[in-house]
């Protein structure tokens, strides 16, 4: 069997390991799943409402947006996907898509047939448990967004999203020295936060001038994490990231 660090390089293994300890044979099983790798440009739909896909994707690189559109054509982004996430895994058990998924940035996606996922989950019940845990964390993230949109003012609502994205990216090794890629546009932030693009623009400028964030050409730096956490009223418990996981 290959050494453990080989398995850890697989984005899905890395993601699941951040919330659930996997044994080497389980990691090997994930690694051996046949995967069709596709490169997509930014702003491309991966699946749409009403589709009945026979496969789900793993984000190998890039960011995605899960969204729902109203009949008036207004879009609510309900979550962002990052490396290692499985943003349309629900289609494994829910036949018809009730949301759409698009790329936010150029993405590399690994598509795995549902039959393959079912087989792996049957042979390795702990992988099924890990995926279950991952979808439960996704649900916790939805609850946090709902709370923010319903109860937090624009300033802390946006700060909360920044905290969440940094914490999630940190869990899969995408944060270096308090700095990570932040490719989300103001329009996308507006659609995610339930604010107008003008309000987003105003709050972003305020967060910057108050020294909570530095945004430079798609890179986000958080100069003082504890201060941003306080402003955001952020408690990372809902992300259920395991402490003391092995270094990537």
């Amino acid at each position: 069997m290959a050494p453990s660090h080989v398995f850890d390089a697989h984005p899905l293994v890395q993601k699941l390991e951040s919330i659930f300890a996997l044994a080497d044979d389980e990691k090997a099983a994930i690694l051996s799943m046949p995967m069709q790798v596709a490169t997509l440009r930014a702003d491309q739909d991966v699946v749409r409402v009403g589709d009945s896909p026979s496969r789900s994707c793993i984000i190998l690189e890039g960011m995605t947006a899960t969204y729902v559109s109203t009949s008036k054509g207004r879009r609510q982004i309900v979550s962002f996907g990052i490396m290692g996430d499985t943003p349309d895994l629900q289609s494994l058990l829910l036949e018809e898509m009730d949301n759409s998924l698009s790329t936010l940035t150029p993405c590399t996606l690994g598509f795995v047939q549902h039959a393959v996922l079912r087989d792996v989950c049957t042979r390795f019940p702990r992988i099924a448990a890990a995926l279950w845990r991952s979808t439960l964390v996704d649900a916790a993230i939805f609850r946090a967004w709902m709370t923010s949109i319903g109860q937090r003012e624009g300033y802390s609502r946006m700060a909360h999203l920044f905290c969440e994205l940094v914490a999630r990216k940190r869990a899969v090794g995408l944060v270096e020295e308090d700095r990570c890629a932040f490719p989300i546009t103001q329009t996308e932030l507006a659609d995610a936060l339930g604010m107008t693009a003008v309000h987003v623009n105003r709050v972003l400028q305020a967060l910057r001038s108050d020294g909570h964030i530095v945004l430079d050409q798609g890179w986000l730096t958080v100069p003082d994490w504890d201060r941003l956490v306080a402003v955001a009223d952020f408690d990372a418990t809902y992300l259920h990231v395991k402490e003391n996981r092995p270094a990537a």
Binding site: M195, T196, A197, H199, N201, R202, Q205, A206
Partner: protein, 77 residues
Amino acid sequence: MRYFFDIDDGDGAVTDDEGVHFRTLEEAQAIGAKTLASLALEALPNGGHRRLSLDVRDESGRVVYRAFLEFGSERPG
């Protein structure tokens, strides 16, 4: 077209140095007005009177739209 939204929410004016892109002035106006209303929701609990205002500038710096919202209250009797 880029439009700049200078907003005073009653706690002081903030000049917009970055602007937001809109296809038409009508769209910029509509979103500007909606923004003023949502800022009012956040600002209103502070006091019985408040005036929020908005200037939209185009790329040449000319003010092309101006709006305000005023909240007043009293306890009669």
